[in-house]
Each structure stands twice: as C-alpha cells, then as structure tokens.
Symmetry: C2
Subunit: 298 residues, 2 copies
C-alpha cells in the first residue's frame, strides 16, 4: 500500500501505527487526531506518521482509512469527510459493536463509497497513544463484517491487511457479531462495572473500609471496570437489545444460584460450579488466555 | 515453636508448610492429609514435614494446629480430634467465612479448648499441594477473628505467627468479616461463576462457537470461575445471608444500568462508569493488584 490514514490515535490507532511502520505495510501513514492532548503525546513519543490537522481533499488519494474513534463520533466524522472520499479507498473501523454503527454509516455515508466494518479483539483497560504497542494484535482475532452489500475486493484486501498485522481473521455478519460479543465482552464489562458500583454502594452504606481487602476477587473486576467510559457507553447504547437479553439471562441464572444458596441445594450448586469450571481449560486450550495461576501475577 | 500440625495440605496448607520450613518458624511440622492423591503428591514433591496418617494422642503435644480443610469438614474433624486436644494448643483455621463455622466450632469443640479463627487473603483458582509456594502469604492480609470469648494470648501468638509468615494482620469480629468478604470476594466469585454459566447457556441456545472469542472480557471471569467447587459451595452456604443481601444489591444496580442503556440516559450512565473507574487506582495505590495494563499478560 502507498498510504494509510488512521483517524483517532488512541490505544488501537497508535498500535496500528506502530505495527504498520514496523512491518513496512505502507509507505506513508497519516494520522488525524482531534484531541490536542493526544497530539502532544504522539509528538513526544515520536510515533511514526504524518499528523494532519484537517480532513480535506488530501484524503481522496488514501488507499486505506482506519477509523479508530469512539463510535459516537462516526456520524460527525462521515459528514466531515463525505465530500473528499474516493470509492477506491478502503474504509474500515475497529468499533466493538456493529449493527447500529452500520445503520449510521448506511444513512450518512455517500452512496458510492464503501465501508467495510472490522473489530480486532484487542482492547484493554488503558487508553491513549502511550499504551499502544506493535504486538497488540498479534495472534488476536479480527472480525470482519460480511453483509450482502459488502464490497468483495475491499473485504479481501482488508483480510490480507489484518493477516499481515499478525491477526487471525474471521468473517461474520453484524447480527451474529453483536450477539457473540454481547456475551463474551459487553456483558462482562457491564457486570464488572456493576460489581464495583455495588461494592462502592455497600462501602458507603456500611461505612466499612473494604477496598483494601479486594485481593480476594474484586480487584479483577476493577481492572475491567477501569476501561474507557465513552467507548463503553457507546457499546452499551449501540448493542442495547442484545445487552437486554444478556442481562435478563444473567439475572435469571443469578436468582437460581441464590435459590441454591438459600436452600443449601448441594446437588444443584455443585453441578453448576463443576460445569462452569470446564470453560477455563477450554479458553486456555484455545489460547485465549495465559496458562498461569492468577494470570501470572505475584 | 516446637511443633506445628497442618491438617489439610492443599494450596494453603502446603504453602504454610513451605514458608514455615523456609523461615524456620517451627522445629517440627506434622501433616495430616485425608486425600491419598495429595499424600502421593506431597511425597513426590518432597515437601518438608512428617506425614501422620492418624489423628490421635500425638496431637496433644502440638503447639499450633492449622486447619486448612474445606469448612464442611470442620464438624467431623472436631469430633475426631476432640479427645486428644490440649487447652494449651493454639488451634486456628484459614476458612473464608466465619460466623457459621464458629457456630459449628462452638457447638462441637470441647468446652475447655480454644479455637482462634483466621483467614489469610491469599487464595487463587488452583488447588492442590503442587501449586503451593512459600511466598503465597507475603504482604497479604491475614484477618484474625476477635470475639468476646477469644483467648487473648492465643490471638497474640497467632498474630506474631502470621507476621513472621510475612502477612499483614488485621483483627475484626466475624460479623464484620463476613460482610466485607461477601462483597470483596464471595459475590465476585458467584458473579464469575454466573457469567460463565450464562455464556454456556447462550452458546448452547444460539449454537454459536463463542468461547474462542473470550479474550474481550469473559476470560477474566473464567479464571475465578475455575476455583475449587467444594470450597466455594461451603463459602456460599455458610455466608448465605450476606450473599443474599449482596445479590439483591447487585441485581438492583444491574436493573438500573439496564434502564440507562435502554433509555440511552447519557448523564446517568457516564456518572456510573466514571465513578467505578476510580476504584482501580485506589486498589493499585493500596497494593492490592499490580500496576500493569491487562495484569501484565501478553
């Protein structure tokens, strides 16, 4: 590729920057970043790429645009770049939920332009260009969305791009994507936020100093609950229907656990606890986590 | 001390064994372990200590007995050792919930014998003597239970013992202990089990292969949900009243999140997400977790 434009240079954008440079995937890299704080960080870190401070006709010659902003910015961004886009340019994003953002894209993007949606499974609780790293996507899944109107040659070029980055590519439609990730990512995040919120409420009510005893389990949830609030608000709002279904299933199961506990139903609770245990070894076998007790923390 | 008897030699018991030997806290260490599999492991690992295969009059000369079995075994254990115990012996345990097990102890332990209850905050998802390590308790909290009938000189000797082990000791009554840990440990474990259970139910119903996409959050919960089922059944059953209260608060808050999501209440959800985020830095400041993104996993 001759040139790539990264719009939004936080954790994911700056990691892309680093790996594109490292693996020489593109001759030139342009960066557009709205936040002045982040621009200063990018300069201080001497990240590769040319910072542009305006999205104008220069972007019409770009081979690939990767949108790495929060999803709530897509609409304004599209309205800003619509007139400068070329139908040859491959446009993609890294947003964590798909159906709703595809509706926005369909509604506002110029009809002769193609947007091929993507989602690398590589976030973490930190955000900002200072946390990016060139191996963030290495051996991670990258979901690319294939729908009826997906431009085939763009999809295949993007697939090659992510494989070069080091990711494993999988294709699915936005509906399936949003259902799967409502359960493996979006609900876990909401649950983590909710557990920490409940601990805070309890601490306040009981006037106990309890956070200092959080090594027994709470600390794990606090990591996830430290994730970027704008990004997660957008995900929860965009995937709200699947979230509702997931929350209802979760509450139903939690009430069943509560019943087991209060009636001391040995058989029923052991069945659940033994069955859930199996998932851990499955996750390790699938190389979705490291095989060290306590994540190797000491 | 001249001699210490460890009853139950899994993760915690075998870690105590290792650190007692390493720091030369006692001249002799005796081990009583019911499981033949664990006894074989202890021999193969060449762990320090003399394995005894019967609890009889030999235990009356022991300075300190540390019970490291699941809490559901306390009753039978007490009935087995009652006649051989001396009132000079300090007896303690490492069980994770306190009020219910203290009732069992009060009911069945000989009236002239003292049991000083303890809870080192040092578990993990693995169990068995092969996972023990001499620094498991280093810089971790150890809660010692102080109630009206607690034998003061035993409590003070135990406090010294745990400090020598490397732990930070804190005293509280069993009621406060069970409330605090219902929120920082017991509820997080139940929530983790419940999330994994919900993901399994969802996978079955939707016929989606979703565990392979668990790196987005689910994998963290699967670690906690891989914990020993007997130990956790005992904790949930023993602390059932506080668990119920904690579950109710959790469901109330989750329904409030659901309402925010479905009504797209920006102000309300951002307030929650920003507030919960603060706990992470508090936890790191209190040295309850390591200060590395993603727990330092790569």
């Amino acid at each position: 590729m001759k040139n790539i434009l990264i719009i939004g240079c936080g954790l994911l954008g700056s990691s892309l920057l680093r790996v594109i440079k490292k693996k020489k995937i593109s001759k030139q890299i342009f960066i557009y970043e709205k936040s002045k704080v982040n621009v200063l960080k990018i300069k201080k870190l001497k990240l590769p790429g040319i910072i542009i401070n305006k999205l104008d006709q220069r972007i019409s010659n770009v081979d690939l645009i990767i949108v790495c902003t929060p999803m709530s910015e897509y609409k304004n961004l599209i309205l800003k770049i619509n007139n400068f886009l070329s139908s040859k340019t491959i446009i993609t994003d890294v947003g964590s939920s798909k159906s709703e953002s595809l509706k926005i894209i369909k509604k506002f993007l110029r009809k002769d332009i193609f947007w091929t949606s993507g989602h690398p499974i590589a976030g973490s609780e930190v955000s900002g260009p200072e946390y990016g790293k060139s191996d963030l996507f290495e051996n991670k899944w990258c979901v690319l969305i294939r729908e009826k109107n997906t431009k085939k040659n763009h999809l295949s070029a993007l697939s090659k791009f992510w494989k070069k980055i080091g990711s494993k590519v999988v294709l699915m439609n936005s509906e399936k994507h949003d259902k799967i990730f409502s359960m493996t990512s979006h609900l876990p995040h909401l649950i983590a936020y909710n557990l920490v919120k409940s601990a805070q409420d309890f601490e306040k009510k009981q006037n106990y100093d309890l956070i200092k005893y959080s090594a027994g389990g709470l600390r794990d949830f606090s990591r996830i609950a430290a994730s970027n609030e704008i990004m997660w608000r957008d995900i929860f709002f965009n995937n709200n229907k699947n979230m509702s279904t997931a929350i209802n299933l979760f509450i139903k199961n939690l009430n069943s656990f509560k019943k087991d506990i209060n009636s001391k139903n040995n058989k029923s609770i052991l069945k659940k606890l033994i069955q859930t245990k199996k998932v851990r070894s499955q996750i390790i076998r699938l190389k979705q986590d490291i095989n060290k007790p306590d994540f190797g923390r000491s």
